[in-house]
């Protein structure tokens, strides 16, 4: 959408920009919390151990880190009973066959119980706060109000069928609920759990190069660099300098991917020239292993200036931190201080997980600020939500090309489009998980996942929870795949989304 707006030179109205920021913002908050509690926490939290916890001590622990009101002994006792009844039913469901009791789990039973309670609370919380998407985007998942040129959500304080004060009041309520939970539950839990796993600040560093397109536009220029979370690149873990992003330096290799380029697989291609032609050379399923010196992945290998880049919340927070972003700096420094580690600890599995929390907090704080901007516009009777000029394809030039940058919760997302005669000639997406999960390129350079796993200690090769910690810390978009992990710690997904 942004790519098309860029190609056609469309400037979106201010209201559309703010509404997009709000939708993206609450998505960050909700997605990061789900990621932490439901996709990542069980790598750190031993659910079964929670059965041994003393509810009174759990209550004391919870109250010592936060003034969240659900922290009484009876509350934790009830949760524990529920859990007990569940475990004793003999049907462990999604919790069956996990690595419970694994020596890499370090939390005391009380912390485990607290985390389980919050796991359940977060499940209830997330479905509520994301109702902001329903208000602004019609539904979640898959919001439907995005248009090239703006939004399909009318804004009118005097209509019952547009975004009016009722909708705004609901957003305020939900945004506050989101922020409170992040402040009082997510961040304290994150810090509490992290304090038991400080050694993980030493593992999972990755490639050390970080790319962030930046997010939350502060003006309406197409692909503006005036962003709340800035755009930039950090090279070799050097926080003293932030390099600008030049989209022409992005290119993708298919040397080790199951695709082929007409000019041969040794060269990379810029997305505008990109080609997606499958060429599966792997073994016939079912198979046990894939050969990494050949083609072995459905992901292409994106590179910036021929270098592998890590993307995601850590990249965004590092770029913001290094660019001198005031609020990010404050929060990052306070987290580092509370954990008693230096900025170098950020380049790790723990850093990745902590950066996600920092971002969630800072974003949650901004929701109401953006909403305030929208209210100001409405007050000025600026109700425009869509730029109609180029809606009809007959107004388009014969040929156009554009690109659009976005930061999905899990990282930098770029779309490139070429339009000829009102039709898409070529459309290429370079998505966050291809950056992070990238296979090797023509020079054999590894992607962030592969590098990050090097040197990770694995206590039990048959139960590699440590590998999961690092991989999950990237928030891989492979919800769709069960990862096969071999003993050397390389992990490949085999899902292809066309």
């Amino acid at each position: 959408m942004r790519a098309v707006e860029n190609a056609l030179g469309i400037t979106i109205p201010d209201n559309a920009r703010i509404i997009r920021n709000l939708i993206t913002g609450i998505q960050y908050v909700q997605d990061h919390v789900i990621h932490f509690y439901h996709l990542h926490a069980l790598d750190w939290v031993d659910v079964v151990s929670a059965l041994k916890a003393d509810p009174a001590k759990t209550s004391a622990l919870a109250q010592s880190i936060s003034d969240w009101d659900k922290s009484s002994t009876t509350y934790f006792k009830a949760i524990q009973d529920k859990l007990k009844a569940f475990v004793e039913s003999g049907q462990l469901g999604i919790f069956a066959n996990a690595y419970w009791g694994h020596p890499a789990y370090k939390l005391p039973p009380e912390a485990n119980l607290m985390a389980v309670a919050h796991y359940l609370e977060a499940l209830d919380w997330q479905k509520d706060v994301i109702r902001i998407h329903a208000v602004l985007g019609s539904k979640n998942p898959h919001a439907q109000t995005y248009l090239v040129g703006g939004m399909a959500l009318p804004v009118d304080p005097n209509s019952q069928n547009a975004l009016n004060v009722e909708g705004i009041a609901l957003i305020i309520e939900l945004a506050n609920k989101a922020k409170t939970f992040v402040e009082k539950v997510y961040i304290p839990d994150l810090l509490a759990i992290a304090s038991f796993y400080k050694d993980w600040a030493g593992y999972g560093a990755g490639v050390g190069n970080f790319l962030a397109y930046g997010v939350f536009e502060q003006d309406n220029v197409s692909n503006t660099t005036n962003l709340y979370f800035p755009r930039g690149i950090i090279k070799n873990k050097d926080l003293s300098k932030v390099y600008p992003v030049d989209q022409t330096k992005i290119a993708e290799y298919v040397t080790h991917s199951w695709y082929e380029y007409p000019e041969g697989d040794g060269k990379s291609k810029h997305p505008w020239e990109g080609v997606t032609k499958p060429n599966y050379t792997g073994p016939k399923p079912p198979y046990e292993f894939l050969e990494t010196n050949q083609k072995y992945s459905w992901l292409k290998a994106p590179r910036y200036e021929d270098t592998a880049m890590e993307v995601g919340p850590l990249s965004r927070m590092l770029v913001a931190y290094a660019s001198g972003h005031k609020r990010v700096k404050e929060v990052v420094d306070s987290v580092l201080k509370k954990l008693g580690v230096g900025p170098e600890a950020l380049f790790s599995t723990l850093g990745r997980t902590a950066a996600r929390g920092v971002e969630t907090l800072v974003t949650a704080e901004m929701l109401l600020v953006w909403l305030g901007q929208l209210e100001q516009n409405i007050k000025r009777a600026d109700l425009q939500i869509h730029n109609n000029e180029k809606w009809d394809p007959s107004t388009w030039p014969k040929e156009a090309k554009g690109y659009g940058f976005h930061e999905a919760p899990r990282g930098a997302l770029g779309h490139w489009v070429r339009i000829v005669d009102g039709k898409i000639e070529n459309y290429q997406c370079v998505v966050p998980s291809t950056w992070n999960g990238s296979p090797r390129d023509a020079k054999g350079q590894k992607g962030p996942y592969e590098v990050a796993l090097i040197g990770t200690p694995v206590a039990d090769p048959n139960k590699p929870v440590e590998i999961l910690r690092t991989i999950h810390s990237f928030d891989p978009c492979m919800a769709c795949a069960v990862h096969v992990v071999d003993t050397e710690g390389k992990e490949f997904t085999r899902i292809r989304i066309v």
Binding site: G90, K127, K139, N140, G150, D156, N388, W391, V482
Partner: protein, 365 residues
């Protein structure tokens, strides 16, 4: 199809809540056998009879998908996903939310398929690529086709969630490079119900599950395999903006007066008049809103092959094959009528001049 009914479920829950463990329960059964003067070997049978109240197992498979239906599942509110996972069902395999990974995760699936043959429910999310031996989607080295055949084939019932699992959805959109198909076209002879949509509305999923648990059978479906309770009627006929349609009040441009006042989105390409789903009634996210309610037309995501058939999303009619993107049916039709009229005029002139030569632009007939 043997399903525990609600009463029995309630009984088991009560047991569990009273802290009666499985071990205690087995002891109880052995005792019962003794009391009834039956051989001890009967104990398992008694256990089995009572154990019908076990929460039914559910495995959730994902293939060519975006986890949108999983996300939708997490938004469940009646009952909530916590209630589903802890009380209603035993969600034994779900790649996205399950705790184990890798081999251990595969074990969870194997356990269900082997030990509960014919007793578990399968939910399938995502399309299944069938081209080139299924290499376009392999999990743990096995192709999706393989997995779906085994898991759905042994299930009591399969629920295909989302457009992709129904008829291939987005991965199957033209030109369908991976040969993606829906469950109904990959495995035959299974008990299957489909909940298309992009994603499915979780309230319809919980509806099907509760129906299954309450009445012991899947709800009735239409000829496309969709439950009538959710896909029986047209969006247009239940739309809150229908009065504006009948009156003749239409949104003409995004953000115009009609748009702000909530008029009909027909002219903006709304596919409500051709789509069957219960969105206007149950809405989304705790009945907070739905696409037409927010001001964007329906895109017909519960319709067959909707990426190919319901596009362009912002026009009433599809484009005429063989013409450029800007040629609408009306432009072409008007052209046809104009050419005809021009031919007639030319013919008339030619005749008037009594010219012998044939006229160009003359239409036959």
């Amino acid at each position: 199809m043997k399903i525990p009914d609600e009463k029995e479920l309630g009984f088991m829950e009560k047991l569990a809540q009273k802290g009666i463990s499985r071990r205690d329960f087995m002891k109880f059964c052995t005792m019962m056998a003794a009391t009834l003067a039956l051989p001890a070997s009967f104990a398992p049978k008694i256990a089995e009879a009572i154990e019908k109240s076990k929460r039914p197992s559910l495995v959730w498979l994902e293939f060519q998908d975006c986890a949108g239906n999983t996300e939708s599942f997490l938004r469940a509110s009646k009952p909530t996903v916590v209630e589903i996972v802890l009380n209603l069902l035993s969600v034994d395999y779900h790649e996205t939310i399950m705790a184990p990974a890798g081999k251990q995760a595969e074990k969870s699936l194997d356990d269900v398929v082997k030990n509960q043959k014919g007793k578990y429910i399968t939910v399938v999310e995502g399309a299944i690529p069938t081209k080139d031996g299924g290499v376009y989607c392999c999990i743990g080295g096995r192709s999706a086709v393989d997995i779906v055949k085994e898991v759905c084939g042994n299930a009591m019932a399969t629920i295909a969630v989302g457009a992709c699992a129904w008829d291939g959805g987005w991965p199957a959109a033209s030109p369908n490079p991976t040969g993606a198909k829906g469950v109904k076209d990959v495995v035959s002879g299974i008990t299957l119900i489909n909940l298309p949509g992009c994603p499915m509305n979780v309230q319809n999923l919980t509806g099907v599950v509760v129906h299954l648990l309450t009445f012991g059978a899947l709800p009735a479906t239409d000829e496309l395999g969709r439950p009538l309770f959710a896909y029986g009627e047209r969006i247009h006929d239940h739309c809150e903006r229908r009065a504006h349609f009948d009156a003749g009040q239409y949104v003409r441009q995004w953000g115009d007066e009609g748009h702000r006042l909530g008029w009909c989105l027909y002219e903006m390409g709304c596919k409500g008049p051709e789509t069957f789903q219960n969105c206007p009634t149950i809405r989304w996210n705790d009945a907070t809103n739905w696409p037409v309610g927010s001001g964007h037309g329906c895109i017909g995501c519960a319709s067959p092959r909707f990426w190919d058939t319901m596009t362009p999303f912002y026009r009433r009619l599809p484009k005429v094959p063989g013409f450029g993107v800007e040629a609408t049916a009306d432009k072409i039709g008007l052209g046809l009528a104009a050419v005809t009229a021009a031919g007639v005029v030319a013919h008339g002139i030619a005749r008037a001049v009594k010219g012998k030569g044939p006229e160009q632009g003359e239409k036959k007939e």
